[in-house]
């Protein structure tokens, strides 16, 4: 019974999403010259469908949330055979329970917000269907017990993210962004393929995730490396971070889900799940922790340098994910990382929805153009403010508490790591305050829309916020503020017990106080410094362009590979096929030669023999003159010769 619930949890969003997306695309094909298939569908289209697509998607999301709560309480596990000796299993343990509820809740909030947004054209079905598929893939990812099933969901999530980022496919820039995001994450995904093969080679024939730390011999290191690379790519950690910047080309609700509870969260989840594996190798844990810390620092700086609110939030996602990755890499940070993940999901989805609401209303996401947006739209502004203050790590909000957990886990491992984390926390305060500073300026928003040319402005017509969008925004804002309770001694103990992470360190009061002081100081300094901010310099341009990561990827990989491909295509045509053609020509030339030999050699010889025979024949006819006396003379000569021979021989 409970097993059926778990199957339903993943089958419902996946099935409904696929149906919704496919039927939306299929029906759009109907207008135009009629064909046999279309005529029937045209009739059924008499009833307008666009609103029903939104509502049914929201219904599915709500049902999924109910199922998620049910499985989180009942903790079922199911499995089915997949390959020889490898099963496809789903199981809800403590970590999965937290994840499924988070994912389903954020998805529901985002879809509720999107349902209230003014129409996005005829393609609502495609959008909502893909969102459900995306969330469904994430749900499978966090419940899968074996590597192949995890990889399936993992890659499906990548594919749906492609469809969502490239949602406005008529604009080439957005379609290209979708390709960049998919290809970058797939590059990292190769790590999971490698890990699966290495686990098989290392004797883990079942490919169960919990058996991976038992991989034998050097294969253990390959498995760890593969898992780490895949997770870092999905979580947009260095050096993969740039795809997250391009992912901003999608609609705001997509960003709200992709940056919070899905996609990027999958990487952090995998590292938390693979915590025993990371510990088993010795090098993987510190590597992961330091990658997270460096990402939190560097992408924090990138976020500070942004002039576009969505880009700022995107960079902050990478940086905040850095804290989760840092936690996963430490010896005792599973509960801390999980708390950070959940709190960040609520914060970031709310912030993106608010930014999206302004984008819809004002037609811009440029920070200078958003001055006063929070005052012009106070309800959205209040939610954004709550989110930004949380993101800044100010006490007593949730990310402050969660980050303290992470930092204390880091301090237990290394003081340098702790210092790096603390510095990253200060940077987080700076970029959060920067966003807040702009939107809360006292200038009221102009009545006219603030279009900029050549920049991502999404829907261009200024509109007013629909009322139905406030509710999910406020729920998320409230959650982001209060989820800090997870770090209070009581709930924190409960979370540790839930995750089976009993002995993990808790922050001392002085640690919490120090991080609060650092955050407050950084926030205050930023608030003071922002009006006096210097002009753009080379360094800030470097940070603004996401450390030139994408350029580097193009220069180091994309262009050389394309050049190699073109060179090989010429090689294939000229050399490989050229050799075949030469061989054919050679054969033909050989045939001509043989023909000449045949004609001029063999046949000529035959003709010469025939001619010789003819000449001999004509010679033989010579003596036959028909004159008797000549015959007598010939006979005499003949006899004389014979006599001579007889005499000589004797």
């Amino acid at each position: 019974m409970t097993g059926a619930l778990l199957w339903a949890l993943v089958a419902l969003p996946l099935g409904a999403g696929a149906l919704l997306a496919v039927s939306a695309v299929w029906e759009r094909g109907c207008p135009g010259p009629p064909s046999a298939v279309c005529r029937g569908a045209v009739v059924s289209r008499a009833v307008p469908r666009a609103p029903s697509g939104r509502c049914s998607a929201l219904t599915v999301a709500v049902a999924t949330l109910a199922l998620a709560v049910a499985v989180a309480l009942t903790r079922p596990h199911v499995s089915a055979p997949l390959f020889a000796g490898v099963r496809a299993g789903l199981e809800v343990d403590g970590l999965s329970a937290v994840m499924v509820v988070t994912i389903a809740a954020v998805t529901t909030a985002v879809l509720a917000f999107a349902a209230g947004e003014p129409g996005r054209g005829e393609d609502t079905g495609r959008f909502h269907g893909m969102m459900l598929l995306f969330a469904g893939a994430m749900l499978v990812t966090v419940t899968a017990t074996t590597l192949p099933l995890l990889l399936m969901a993992w890659e499906l999530m990548g594919a749906t993210s492609w469809a969502l980022i490239g949602y406005w496919w008529r604009q080439p820039r957005r379609a290209r962004a979708a390709d960049t995001a998919f290809l970058t994450t797939r590059t990292a995904d190769l790590g999971l393929y490698l890990a699966a093969g290495a686990a098989m080679a290392g004797g883990v024939g079942s490919l169960r995730l919990d058996a991976l730390p038992g991989t034998g011999g050097p294969w253990l290191h390959v498995v760890s490396a593969g898992v780490v690379v895949a997770a870092l790519g999905k979580s947009a950690q260095l050096p993969f971070s740039f795809w997250l910047s391009r992912a901003m080309e999608g609609p705001s609700p997509v960003s709200a889900l992709l940056h919070s509870a899905a996609m990027v969260a999958a990487g952090a989840y995998l590292l938390l799940r693979a915590h025993p594996l990371l510990n088993a190798t010795g090098w993987a844990g510190p590597l992961v922790a330091w990658t997270g810390a460096v990402t939190a620092l560097a992408l924090g700086v990138v976020a500070v340098a942004q002039r576009d609110v969505k880009q700022l939030l995107a960079a902050s996602t990478s940086a905040q994910l850095g804290f989760m990755v840092l936690a996963a890499g430490t010896r005792g940070g599973v509960a801390a990382g999980t708390a950070q993940l959940v709190a960040h999901a609520a914060v970031k989805s709310g912030l993106f929805l608010a930014a999206g609401a302004w984008l819809t209303a004002l037609g811009t996401q440029q920070l200078p153009a958003l001055k006063g947006a929070a005052r012009g739209y106070p309800l959205v502004g209040a939610a954004f403010t709550a989110g930004a203050l949380t993101l800044a790590g100010l006490p007593p909000l949730s990310l402050w508490a969660a980050k303290d957990e992470v930092l204390s886990a880091a301090r237990a491992d290394s003081h340098a790591l702790y210092a790096a984390g603390l510095a990253a926390g200060a940077i987080a305060a700076v970029y959060s305050v920067k966003a807040l500073w702009y939107v809360t300026r006292s200038q009221p928003p102009d009545a006219t829309p603030r279009h900029e040319t050549g920049y991502a402005t999404g829907r261009h017509s200024p509109r007013h916020m629909p009322r139905s969008a406030w509710l999910p925004l406020w729920v998320l804002a409230a959650a982001s503020a209060v989820l800090g309770v997870l770090a209070l001694p009581g709930p924190a103990g409960w979370l540790r017990a839930l995750l089976g992470a009993g002995g993990e360190p808790s922050p001392h009061p002085w640690e919490a106080g120090l991080s609060a002081a650092v955050a407050l100081a950084a926030a205050g300094a930023a608030w003071w410094w922002l009006p006096r901010a210097p002009r753009v310099t080379v360094t800030t341009r470097w940070a603004q362009d996401w450390l030139h990561l994408e350029r580097a990827a193009h220069a180091l990989f994309v262009r050389p590979v394309l050049a190699l491909a073109r060179a090989l295509a010429v090689f294939d045509d000229k050399v490989v096929d050229g050799a075949v053609r030469q061989l054919a020509h050679g054969g033909y030339a050989l045939a001509r030669l043989a023909g000449r030999v045949d004609d001029g050699g063999l046949d000529a010889a035959v003709r010469a023999v025939a001619a010789g025979a003819r000449r001999l024949g004509s010679l033989a006819r010579r003596p036959q003159t028909g004159l008797l006396h000549q015959y007598y003379a010939q006979a005499v000569v003949g006899f004389a010769l014979l006599t001579l021979i007889v005499l000589l021989v004797r």
Binding site: V25, V37, A84, A175, D179, Y193, L564, A565, V576
Partner: protein, 505 residues
């Protein structure tokens, strides 16, 4: 039963040829479709009656044996096991799809129907044959049939040149194959061409150089047909110039004859040499994977691009069968996983590339060119066509949920243990494939709408009923295999284990 499945299309072909000239073309098409559907129904019945777990001696079922040329050790011997049954089913599905697709054909319809029915018989025949000479006859006749399809229904004068190249190149390959068969025949005692008996007796065990030469002949012959780098250059022109239905059969069915030959003939009959030279196959496979993908990436012609991805996809199969011949450092599970993956890849590639080539035919029909840069934003005019092609492209790049992933995951996981470096390099293939499919899809379907010069918007219609019926079920089947693969794997896995054991003996 198998004989009926094999020769039913030929019977229909003969009947069509004998029908009076007054019979309309449409009737011929429906006879063709009816025959293909009936054949598929028969194969479904075979599948239902197939007992994967308790196969008889040699694992063959539905065996039939008739004396043919006993003095030469040649007999009519057919049967199916877990390796061949899925391929036979795939052949029937693909031929039915091409029959449906050809409903739109107006050019010498009766001859086309006859030719495809003939091709269906020889294609089925290759996969059910259990006698080397019978196999060779079908193998060779497939080349003959395809030659006429390309030359007769292709794109003009260049098609005839491509057809000639195709014929001569692959014919040369099949001659090498025949040489190998004779080598096997001579080594067997008593002399025989019977596959089952040859498999049992392992005639070339301990024959060193002689066995190596036989494997060289077999390998070269099969490598041409598969095709693997560097013996692949007949493929792009043949695919590009062939009609869409012909390309679908050529890529979907005829290429599998090569890879099937590896698992059916080369591996079980020459286990010793296979193990000794496994590395050669691994290297050829990896080179095909990466080189095929890279050359495909550089193509500017959509059909040539799809053609080169076949080189890439068949490379995975060759890699897997090569890795299955490497015993060091592996266990049986990994090796049989690789073989199972290879067979799934054959089925999967048949369905997906068949669908892709049919969709390419739709593209040509609408825009009269395959040039990628001639199109832009086609999805605005043809959302269904765009959706179907998008799904086919993602399935082709191995996205989970479709059959390609089931195949490639098993191949990689099964091959890595024995051939770590090679498999790691081959992994790059799925990345390059992703890049090339996405690039082509974006260029043709996304962005601002623009049609090739001289094409009117009114003339560009979306997928019609026959095109939908021909392509969408292929994708649907790939989806079923991708989501619930057990029905297929239950059949393939025991046979894959048998091959693994035969190679290891």
């Amino acid at each position: 039963m198998l004989t009926v499945v094999t020769f039913l299309p030929l019977l229909a072909c003969a009947a069509l040829a004998l029908l009076p000239r007054t019979v309309p073309d449409r009737a011929c098409l429906w006879v063709w479709i009816g025959t293909a559907a009936a054949d598929l129904a028969l194969v479904v019945a075979l599948w239902a009656g197939f007992d994967a777990q308790h196969a008889g001696a040699g694992g063959m079922q539905y065996e039939q044996q008739v004396r043919w040329m006993p003095s030469a050790g040649v007999g009519y011997h057919v049967g199916v096991d877990g390796l061949s049954l899925p391929l036979v089913a795939m052949v029937c599905v693909l031929f039915l799809a091409t029959a449906l697709y050809s409903l739109r054909e107006t050019h010498r319809v009766r001859a086309l129907a006859c030719l495809f029915l003939f091709l269906q018989t020889v294609s089925t025949g290759v996969f059910v044959a259990l006698d080397l000479i019978l196999f060779f006859v079908f193998f060779d006749l497939s080349i003959v049939g395809m030659y006429f399809v390309i030359a007769g229904w292709g794109h003009g004068e260049r098609a005839r040149a491509a057809a000639l190249k195709f014929f001569l190149y692959t014919f040369l390959g099949s001659l090498a194959l025949l040489l190998g068969f004779i080598g096997l025949y001579l080594a067997a005692d008593p002399h025989t061409f019977d596959l089952v008996r040859l498999t049992r007796s392992n005639p070339l065990a301990g024959h060193g150089l002689y066995a190596g030469l036989v494997l060289l002949a077999l390998g070269a012959g099969l490598a041409v047909k598969t095709p693997t780098v560097p013996l692949h250059t007949w493929l792009p022109p043949a695919h590009t110039e062939a009609p869409a239905a012909g390309s679908a059969i050529l890529a979907g069915v005829l290429l599998k004859m090569g890879t099937y030959g590896f698992v059916r003939i080369a591996m079980p009959l020459l286990p010793g040499s296979w193990r000794r030279y496994a590395l050669v196959f691994v290297v050829v496979g990896v080179v095909s994977v990466v080189y095929g993908a890279l050359v495909a990436l550089a193509q500017t012609d959509f059909k040539r691009l799809v053609a080169y991805t076949s080189v890439n996809h068949m490379g995975y199969v060759v890699l897997a069968v090569g890795a299955a011949g490497t015993l060091a450092g592996t266990d049986t599970q990994a090796r049989s996983l690789a073989v199972t993956g290879a067979v799934v890849q054959m089925v999967s590639h048949g369905l997906l590339t068949g669908a892709l080539f049919l969709l390419t035919g739709v593209l040509y029909d609408r825009g009269s060119t395959y040039r990628i840069d001639a199109y832009s934003g086609l999805a605005a005019h043809t959302p269904r066509f765009a959706a179907a092609t998008g799904v086919a492209a993602f399935a082709g790049l191995g996205i989970p949920g479709f059959s390609g992933f089931i195949a490639e995951f098993q191949i990689f996981t099964g091959s890595l243990a024995s051939q770590a470096t090679a498999t790691a390099v081959a992994l790059l293939g799925i990345l390059i494939t992703a890049a090339l499919f996405l690039r082509a899809f974006r260029a043709i379907f996304l962005g601002p709408p623009r049609l090739p010069a001289g094409i009117q918007v009114a003339g560009v219609t979306d997928l019609d009923a026959t095109e939908t019926a021909a392509t969408v079920p292929l994708l649907g089947l790939a989806l079923v295999i991708g989501v619930a693969p057990r029905f297929l794997l239950d059949v393939i896995e025991p046979a894959g284990r048998t091959v693994t054991d035969l190679v290891a003996r």
